[in-house]
Amino acid sequence: MSAGGKPFVRKVSRYGWFLRHPRYLRYMAREVTCVFIGLHALILLLLLRRLSEGREAYEAFLHDLSGPAGVALQVVVLAFAVYHSMSWFNVTPKALPVQIDEKFLPGAVIISAHYAGWLIATVALLVLAGVF
């Protein structure tokens, strides 16, 4: 135990700690942008609900989405969702190191594999949707 008087305990601010260093702000940016992933899921759910309500409701919703406000919302949601996804892809080598004999696969390979998976899933979805 400590000797010679009472040690001084410095309090950590529960609300302002992330302002102390840019690395904490980067962390908060990664975490907070998950809200936009949720928002994107919500738009998809609403789309399904309108679809279940019939052709007119569905087309009215699509019309709203393709208006200036709808497009602006989707651009913002897409930008933050991409940022969120990329920030996670970029830390995957820490969680999923791949050891081959005495060597570890370079982190860039693991990150690239995630991007490749993302690209393949996107193309597959677009093919299913009849875009190509």
């Binding site: 135990m1 400590s2 010679g4 008087g5 009472k6 040690p7 001084f8 305990v9 410095r10 950590v12 529960r14 700690w17 992330f18 102390r20 260093h21 690395r23 904490y24 962390y27 975490e31 830390v91 080598p93 820490k94 969680a95 999923l96 190191p97 050891q99 004999d101 005495e102 060597k103 570890f104």
Partner: protein
């Protein structure tokens, strides 16, 4: 060898006389190739012998001289003065109580380190006559990175989770547990899991990653903690979905 005056603001705290810490400024004539620890030694030897701080090896091996240098957790023996402007602010490591000046109370870390059993627990007793526990270079490589930890506690000072949740076992202790869990000669994982897979173990970590950024030995504690999370999750699924697979 060029000399220049460096202004150093050092946080001082005397538990017998001070209600709270205060900064004290020193003008220190320094050689350009000095590190912060050299400047502190110069203060202690020629300006103010009452200044207290920990140090020992002066070569980034002992892990004693960790402190906040301009707000960043650093080893004072590895922080070259030429990397800083004319004013350098020195504080004790964040998140630890201050015992005196730059000396912190590290009991909490030492207790947690003991709890994770950071030593080999052989799978079975083997008489010496049967020879050594052999290990291939590939098996060594699996955990070698985590053996480099020097217990300097910079990762604890950088970790906001540890600052907010004092019960958190923390980066270095969990990384060392992971080091032994990954060792092919070890059989103590289940004992360590009781501590590191609990709420105050890895699940307090939200992967800020600051621990790995400040680690002077490139141990990558953040990586170790994420790997422990994945292995613990696999354990949970195995236990609940395939209870028969449990030994």
């Amino acid at each position: 060898m060029s000399e220049r005056i460096v202004e150093m603001e050092v946080l001082r705290y005397n538990p017998e006389t001070d209600a709270e810490p205060r900064f004290q400024r020193y003008s220190v004539p320094c050689m350009n190739e000095w590190v912060v620890l050299d400047a502190l030694n110069h203060i202690k030897e020629t300006i103010d012998p009452t200044l207290s701080y920990r140090w020992s090896c002066h070569m980034a091996v002992c892990g004693s001289c960790g402190m906040m240098i301009n707000g960043e957790p650093k080893l004072a023996c590895k922080a070259f003065l030429r990397s800083y402007d004319w004013l350098i602010r020195i504080e004790p490591l964040s998140h630890f109580p201050i015992q005196r000046d730059l000396v912190t109370v590290i009991d909490d870390f030492v207790t947690k380190l003991r709890r994770v059993k950071p030593y080999l627990i052989p799978k079975e007793d083997k008489p010496v006559a049967e020879g050594e526990f052999r290990q291939s270079p590939a098996e060594l490589k699996t955990y070698k990175q985590y053996t480099l930890c020097i217990n300097c506690m910079l990762c604890y000072a950088a970790c906001p989770e540890y600052g907010l949740t004092t019960g958190f076992i923390g980066p270095a202790a969990i990384s060392l547990a992971h080091r032994y869990n990954q060792d092919s000669r070890d059989g103590g994982r289940e004992e360590r899991q009781q501590v590191i897979a609990a709420n105050e173990g890895v699940w307090e970590c939200s992967f800020v990653g600051a621990c790995s950024e400040v680690c002077p030995e490139h141990v990558d504690p953040a990586g170790a903690l994420q790997q422990v999370k994945i292995k613990s999750t696999v354990d949970w699924y195995q236990e609940h979905l395939m209870p028969w697979s449990k030994k």
